[in-house]
Amino acid sequence: MITPVLLAVLALVLTGPAPAVLARSDWPYRVPRAAVILWQAIALAAVLAALGAGIALSYSIAGEPGTPKFDPSSPRDLVAALILAMTALVVVRLLWAVGRVAIGTRARRKRHRDLVDVLATPDGLIPGLRVLAEETPLAYCLPALRGARVVVSVGALDRLDDSELKAVLAHEQAHLRARHDLVLEEFTALHHAFPRWVRSDVALEQARTLVELLADDDARRRNGPRPLARALVALAGSPAPEAALAAAKSATVLRVERLADPAPDERVLATLTYAGAVTLLVLPTITIAAPIVKAIVDAVS
């Protein structure tokens, strides 16, 4: 009976307090790549632990090992079956959310790309670049398996010099190359999969910021920190309908301050973060797998 309780506690900690603490810390920004992996591990471990709690609970309620027959007259077996069914429901809900987000994102992106292709003019500077005749300064990418686009508005071009433009394009190409959109999609799907009363925006917001930092690092390696920082300042504060901002420092400020400070060697921190991610994934897996493996061994011996 101890396994399901432990797993349930782990699932609760990983959905509530752990993300909240992590989101308030500064150190993940120093190791964005490891931090993205850690966030993914937290999300996956939370799901595994929740499912594992259901399976383990059902398993520990239903009769003794060695009599795997389902007995409908036994209330214990009925409760066990009900718990198992609810666990299955969670899986279905999760898959449903993943599918819906994937389909919705692709449909919207395709419509957007169709509009870009008839409204914006191609520019040969980099593959897939389209220039949009709009005054609002804007630069973004439309990820795709084939035929990804980078869109830059005339308003953005007016505000950037050549080196700054190169930095912006390097940043966008980094997003496309690493498929950061898929990382964000995972977190969006998970966000929608959780019931409204337990989910928070923390994980999704952090993932958004971290992929920006990763793309920044790529652009910084290519052109140095200065053009990128100047481009961020030149394009920030654009009249975008995103007025409602949290009291916390916005990702843009964080990014420029990070570019302004020379990057120290963070190999130790990164290694620790990766280790934490692996541990998180191994914990629920072992707790679920151990009793099942033991039962199988008992059954055959």
Binding site: A231, E242, T252
Partner: protein, 130 residues
């Protein structure tokens, strides 16, 4: 990604040209009318124009109606309207649209703009010192 755009993309380019014809025209146009207007400036097959118009209809960028044996095409919406749709989609963060469009930079408040300039000047002075 690279191979796709290094090669000329005649259909994509043509889509833009054909839409421009439709936006400029006061009435719905037949394939022949669009072809005649475009053939003046480039060497184009009639069937190519037909294909492009068909693709645009499938993308719901044009509406078409029967006129005798021919189809007549018109732009699904005025250019400004489609541009407004596009801008709304690109700027709107509500409804989780960020995942489709990974944007370079978001909106900042006035105080944050000050922080940004401060960080930038710090970076500039480092550059001069180093």
């Amino acid at each position: 990604m690279a191979s796709e755009d290094k090669a000329p993309r005649p259909l994509g380019d043509l889509e833009r040209l054909v839409m421009e014809q439709l936006w400029a025209a006061p009435t719905a146009l037949t394939v022949r009318e669009v072809h005649e207007q475009l053939a003046g400036t480039r060497d184009l097959a009639y069937t190519t124009v037909m294909t492009v118009l068909d693709r645009l209809a499938k993308k719901k960028l044009t509406d078409r109606e029967r006129d005798g044996k021919a189809w007549r095409y018109r732009a699904a919406a005025p250019r400004e309207e489609l541009a407004a749709d596009l801008m709304r989609d690109a700027l709107d963060r509500a409804g989780d649209r960020r995942e489709a469009l990974v944007r370079f930079v978001g909106q900042v408040s006035d105080e944050e703009a000050a922080l940004l300039r401060e960080a930038l000047s710090r970076l500039d002075s480092q550059e001069r010192a180093g």
